[in-house]
């Protein structure tokens, strides 16, 4: 059993480029002792990876379709296509930010990565990524407009390893909107690694808008670290993709921090979407809030696993988790696992999880007001995901998501009655 899996790993990596330097070489060597996880592994209990491990992926080649207008929602945009930055498709002159390419190992040791939550996929990214895009928001800089990072994929059976590092220096403020897009409808696997380094008193909002195609596979890992007095929001909107797994790991290292995580997904067909979040409260006087809303249709499956750890002596922590699930079809299913691990006593931590279908009474009421059943359902779903939608302040991006809901799922959230 172990043998075949290891063989799988060897096969998987044999089609990738050879590691470029010592840093990547070391990561590749670590991989030799690792296997793809099975559902016996608690962290992957509800997500089968066969679609990824059984496909012969090749690294992506240069993008041929360079029209990005259908994905662009912000004036300032950085395009990462097939895992590499495209200068010709990027423009961010309005913003006083520094964008650099960093090559494997150049950054050396960094304190943002969460080694405890390292998976085989972060290690694969370490060993085979081509370049890292580093966005620095300089000290005391408040970005006047959001910055869009467009991650594009193209081609059949392609694996890309986008890697992004955002450094929000002291007292800076920024909103970054990462949009995933596919230029065709082939199977692409995006093994994405994102590091968010939030310095003291900085405010960073990271919107992860996942609008890949119907065959898109992604494993996205976001490792973040917050210094004192900072505010970080990581919001995830999943509107497409066959297999989506998001790992958000936030280490709260400084006092008086605020951490927000919101998520929304609407699925159909045989989609499988899995969100794992992890908030590590290491110090006192912090607040974290989490709200994930799932709307599942057809035979799709959803997984939510939120974990909050309050370390010893991290007192006066308020942590909230909420997960709401609506199953629209009798074949959809959901697995929810909100976890609390508390080692300090002066805390207020709670979580709630609900699963059900649309409220019959509410549906009936709307119908008595002369609204069709179909429309009533849409109104209720729109209201259900409304609080998460509101976390996108950027009008164009909000509209982009709504258009997507309309196109892919027929969910019109701005219904005129």
């Amino acid at each position: 059993m172990t043998l075949t899996l290891s063989k799988k790993m060897a096969e998987f990596t044999s089609r990738l480029e050879t590691p470029q330097n010592n840093y990547q070489q070391a990561a590749a060597e670590r991989l030799e002792n690792m296997d793809f996880p099975s559902t016996r592994d608690e962290y992957w209990k509800y997500t089968r990876l066969g679609k990824i491990t059984n496909t012969a992926f090749e690294l992506g080649t240069k993008l041929t379709k360079t029209d990005i207008s259908s994905f662009q929602t912000c004036d300032n945009i950085i395009t990462i296509a097939q895992g590499e930055i495209r200068d010709d498709l990027s423009s961010f002159n309005d913003l006083s930010i520094v964008v650099e390419r960093s090559f494997p190992g150049q950054f050396g040791v960094n304190n943002v990565r969460n080694e405890e939550k390292a998976t085989i996929f972060t290690t694969i990214n370490d060993a085979y990524f081509r370049e890292e895009v580093v966005i620095t928001i300089p000290k005391n800089t408040v970005l006047s407009a959001p910055l869009q990072v467009l991650v594009l994929h193209e081609g059949d059976q392609i694996i890309n390893m986008p890697r992004l590092r955002v450094v929000a220096e002291g007292s800076s403020e920024a909103t970054i909107i990462m949009t995933t897009g596919c230029q065709d409808n082939y199977t692409q696997f995006s093994n994405c690694l994102i590091e968010l380094d939030v310095a003291a008193n900085a405010k960073l909002t990271f919107q992860n808008v996942q609008t890949g195609n119907d065959n898109h596979l992604t494993i996205t890992t976001i490792d973040a670290r917050q210094a004192a007095d900072s505010r970080l929001a990581v919001n995830t909107f999943t509107l497409n993709g066959l297999l989506v797994r998001n790992n958000v790991n936030i280490a709260v290292d400084g006092q008086n921090c605020e951490t927000h995580m919101n998520g929304m997904l609407v699925t159909k067909g045989k989609q499988h979407v899995d969100n794992h979040t992890f908030v590590d409260h290491k110090v006192s006087n912090c607040f974290s809030n989490e709200n994930y809303k799932y709307v599942l249709d057809d035979q799709s499956t959803g997984v939510f696993n939120g974990k909050v750890i309050v370390r010893k002596d991290a007192q006066v922590i308020n942590a909230y988790q909420n997960n709401g699930n609506i199953l629209l079809s009798d074949q959809a299913s959901v697995d929810s696992k909100p976890e609390l691990e508390i080692y300090a006593d002066d805390v207020k931590c709670s979580h709630g999880s609900t699963t059900g279908q649309l409220d019959e009474n509410a549906l009936f009421y709307l119908q008595t007001r002369g609204i069709s059943k179909e429309k009533s359902e849409k109104i209720l779903v729109g209201a259900f995901i409304g609080d998460v939608m509101e976390t996108i302040e950027d009008e164009a991006t909000n509209q982009y998501i709504k258009n997507h809901l309309q196109e892919v799922h027929g969910w019109d959230s701005d219904i005129e009655i």
């Binding site: 079809s329 299913s333 697995d335 929810s336 976890e339 300090a344 931590c349 979580h351 699963t355």
Partner: protein, 480 residues
Amino acid sequence: MAAYTEEEFAEELKNQEYKFGFTSEIESDKIPAGLNEDIIRMISAKKQEPEWLLEYRLNAYSVWQEMTEPEWAHVKYKKPDFQAISYFSAPKKQYESWDDVDPEMKATMDKLGISMDEQKKLTGVAVDFVMDSVSVATSFKEKLGELGIIFCSFSEAVQDHPELVKKYLGTVVPTQDNFYAALNSAVFTDGSFCYIPKGVRCPMELSTYFRINEAGTGQFERTLVVADQGSCVSYLEGCTAPQRDENQLHAAVVELIALDDAEIKYSTVQNWFPGDKDGKGGVFNFVTKRGICHTNSKISWTQVETGSAVTWKYPSCVLKGDNSIGEFYSVAVTNNFQQADTGTKMIHLGKNTKSTIISKGISAGESQNSYRGLVQIGSRADNARNFTQCDSLLMTDKCGAHTFPYIECKNNSAKLEHEATTSKIGEDQIFYCQQRGLSEEKAIGLIVNGYCKEVLNKLPMEFAVEAQKLLAISLENSVG
């Protein structure tokens, strides 16, 4: 009155001694330590078991050998050496009637507060007393017999009602279920057996009292409760162990079978020796409890967990029949260096099945208290309903309270709610009570009492009293 602070309350909790730590000087018949096929044959022979049961044991032993000890629970302990345990220990004398019972044994029961004489007269609870490996005495047998109720030790049941035991043994907790269930299936020595015939409401509470007395022994009892169609029974279980420096192993299996329209209420007050203030000694409590509900039936688990150094216990309900109901009410108190990983599983398979989970954890000292629960809705379980509430109360800044719920839903007509909170006693709550004229001491007592009330209310009267005493919260000092 001097101010009674939360610190003092915590201190009081810390210093509380284990009341049941005595050992009884009763001559016992103990077999050598170790586990192999010969030992299993020896146990089986001692109990004059039929061939099929020996085969059942040997099969379980070979299954167990293939298994590894589970490590997923949120507890840390030194794994028991299974070859260092003696798997059979019995008080030497066998008793014909209650009057023959060794005075020392009677004294033991008295100390435990379960004097059978007294109970016979006053409380009307039928008790089966299990000391170390064998059942010592069962009261009220004849009276129950008139109604056709079988309530006896497991070994007697094997001799007298082999067809019933054979029919139901291992049907709810199969041998290969988990490491400790397999071990229990191989070496279980005694336990209680209960059968309620069709349409009979058991007129009194049935109770089993377990006690580990001998050093170097483990206790592996097996309880099987079968409620036939339309019957109803309330079953109580209590346990204690002497204070010893070593860790003793308790790996029991409890199987409940509620046939159509039957109802079983199973209450436990678990007070195994929790180890001393420094975390030395104590019982490892690795228990598998599960019930199966057929159509329109109901199983209700109520537990008050105060003892054991390490607890690993998930009383579960398999809601197989349509309209069946599962309930789980639990108060788990951990103190000093105790560790508990406890919760429940509600497996909804039938239509219109309902389950309720109320779990209250209290952590004090440097203990770790975890709730781990599974709510699973099968694809055919239409209109399933679950409500889960698990609250944790933290008494000191060194303890931990953790919540690991698993909610798996494969049917869209299900309505599932889960909520959990973790906090300490709010200063505002204490302030409010004080403002109404209560002392701080009374306020804390009131709040803790109120916090557990939902669960304590579910216990049968006799047990509720014991449980309240046991809650280790010294409520007698804090409630005036």
